[in-house]
């Protein structure tokens, strides 16, 4: 299958290790991975902050960059949700029918990483090895926009050596919320503090999630408080093996 990686602008710029891990993982599972260099950003930050006019060209750029692939896979539930929920509406509001049609064709082929692994490839045991105590934070957009359900946990449970522990009050938002973290820093920090408390209660060495944006926020508080807990994207755990550890 000809798979395109949509790495997302945040991972591209700040967390390239996540993109490399996903490439390694998909190749290990026997798939060709391409990275269309024309890709940039799904437009979520601008759209969700109220700058719709700025988001529209990015939606167009996304449709151009990924046209023709059988599947587009992304290691971000939040960006996948943006594409699925909003790209068709933004395209149809543009009044350009051909653009709307192209977006309409593309969007069903865009998968968040765990959807692609579990639903399309039909695997939960990806041959990973990660001998650490890990807790999993299900991000809001993965839960309530994409409805990925327990797919990430099913993948994690098959990882050899892992000691997977449940995160208390897991479904509560961590307080990131994109520009919310800057516009309402006090409430954001208060929410993060509670998330950090719950993470530390688990005794986990690593906090895992399907979005680096939330992990950047929680991780920033974990290192600031010298908690000794590291953050690691789900793709990096699933890509890890005894030969190539994460």
């Amino acid at each position: 299958m000809r798979v395109a990686l949509f790495v997302t602008c945040l991972n591209d710029t700040m967390f390239p290790g996540t993109g490399r891990a996903l490439v390694r993982l998909l190749r290990r599972l026997g798939h060709d991975v391409d990275f269309p260099m024309a890709q940039t950003c799904c437009g979520q930050m601008h759209f969700n902050t109220g700058y719709r006019g700025q988001a529209a060209p990015m939606v167009r750029g996304f449709a151009d960059a990924f046209a023709g692939y059988e599947a587009v896979v992304t290691p971000s539930a939040s960006c996948a949700a943006m594409v699925r929920d909003w790209h068709p509406k933004i395209a149809s509001e543009s009044g350009d029918r051909r653009f709307a049609e192209r977006v309409g064709e593309l969007v069903p082929k865009v998968y968040e990483m765990t959807e692609f692994l579990v639903d399309v490839l039909g695997v939960t045991d990806v041959g990973a090895y990660f001998p650490y105590r890990v807790t999993y934070h299900p991000t809001c957009h993965s839960l309530r926009m994409l409805h990925v359900g327990d797919r990430p946990l099913r993948l994690l449970r098959e990882v050899r050596g892992i000691d997977l522990v449940e995160l208390p009050e897991a479904t509560e938002c961590c307080g990131f919320g994109g520009t919310f973290a800057l516009k309402n820093p006090d409430v954001s920090a208060a929410m993060c503090a509670d998330k950090v408390t719950n993470v530390r209660r688990t005794g986990a060495e690593a906090l895992c999630s399907a979005d680096n944006s939330c992990l950047m926020h929680i991780g920033g508080a974990l290192t600031r408080t010298r908690s000794g807990v590291r953050t690691v994207h789900l793709a990096e755990i699933l890509a890890a093996t005894e030969e190539e550890p994460a």
């Binding site: 024309a38 994109g178 920090a189 290192t223």
Partner: protein, 535 residues
Amino acid sequence: MSVQNSPGNPASEPEGRGAAWTEERRERSDQSDEGRRRLKAPRRLAGNTANTAMPTYIGMPAFPDAARRAVGDTRLRHNLAHATSTIRGRRAGAVAELDDWGALREAGKQIKDHVLANLGHYLRLLEENVTAAGGTVHWARDAAEANRIVADLVKATGETEVVKVKSMATQEIGLNEALAEEGIAAYETDLAELIVQLGDDRPSHILVPAIHRNRSDIRDIFRREMPDAPEGLSDSPAELAEAARRHLRAKFLSAKVAVSGVNFAVADTGTLVVLESEGNGRMCLTLPETLISVMGVEKLVPSWRDLEVFLQLLPRSSTAERMNPYTSTWTGSTPGDGPRDFHLVLLDNGRTATLEDEVGRQALRCIRCSACLNVCPVYARAGGHAYGSPYPGPIGAILSPQIRGIGSEVDSSLPYASTLCGACFEACPVAIDIPEVLVHLRARAVESSRKHPGEQMVMGVAGWTLRSPARLGLAQKAASASRWVVGRNGRIRRLPGPLSAWTDTRDAPAPPRESFRAWWERTEGGTREDRRGGR
């Protein structure tokens, strides 16, 4: 609206209070005690906007500033966390009992949408049927008109006191304050509203208005402000409830005029419906000679069959009860039974303007259950007062800026008072997609505001960069080149300007040695040997 919590509910006995408004209270403390006792809480809502919409609370700062104070109030934080998580758990249980909840929710949504799409028809039908049943219908364009109508109706009776059933609509228009200016004292009879009113305070929750008060606060308020409070009143919930009961009983028996809100109005019979839990509403709706009900125009349902849906949705979402304790219905007036004189005030106050907005109009489906408040992680930390309106929480964040317009500082900040986590949408019994409306209103806030040129410039530059892979690549190279300056051990401890809001409480990651796209280019997609490896 009038769904209330029972006094014995632990969730309604918080142990502290918010500080968001304490400074303002201090400023007002020079008012004479006598004046405060005569006209309870007349000054807390003096309208500072034009006569058109619900007043913004005086001096209300933008949400982030008000929330900052609330976040620092440890008792408020503890109480809200405890209270909201208790109600949240119960609601989830009550909803899980029904295997057709999804269908009920869809039915509720569709009934409301149908009414909104045919609002003129159903309002005329309601007016016709209320009038035929002996009631009088009044139409009010805005808060000022509604207040004028109610004040004139009360004056025509010659009375100077009214008893009130808990009502969001009259909170919205600041009715108590408007009546006070006309020399009419309005007494709240819902226990929590009574606590708020006696404490010269503001409600902070739709269902549990005194959620920010604990029982020792309540004892102190009763001792100080309730003339007939018993000697040696303790803070036991039973004693407090008994004191309130005795205090209110005298009001019920002497009042000649009552004012209520309306939960639902059945158009095809002209029947009004109020839901409450304490029985105070039943007293107000049956004992006085004159009843004046103020109703937002969106509260209609076509028929009794439609009402059935909401009598399931509302109690389970609101109080987590299977059935509402006191559901009062009345149609016009009935000789020898209940009020002789019934007046219905139909309130627009920004609703038809909201209806014009294709995305925003879904906020008018709201049945004021407050499920969205109880699941909202932002509300649980910021408290209700930070929203600067009688409608707090997620629903307030989409309702207030639509009813009042997005002009004021607090209203333009409300659409941003959310992480878009989606918990509110999930809990809403009439499927209001609150995140969708929030994002929609953010776009309106950006269009209508020129107050943040800095932000607009930053977003402009970011947009320009992100539109082009080449420019993004260059920006990434610049970021990577700066990593040794800005980051120590891969972490940035302090960022300048507005970004300091991040690093005040969180480290930021230092940029990596190379971006993903740089790595892909250098190694031809990882197929060439990657000597550098790592991050």
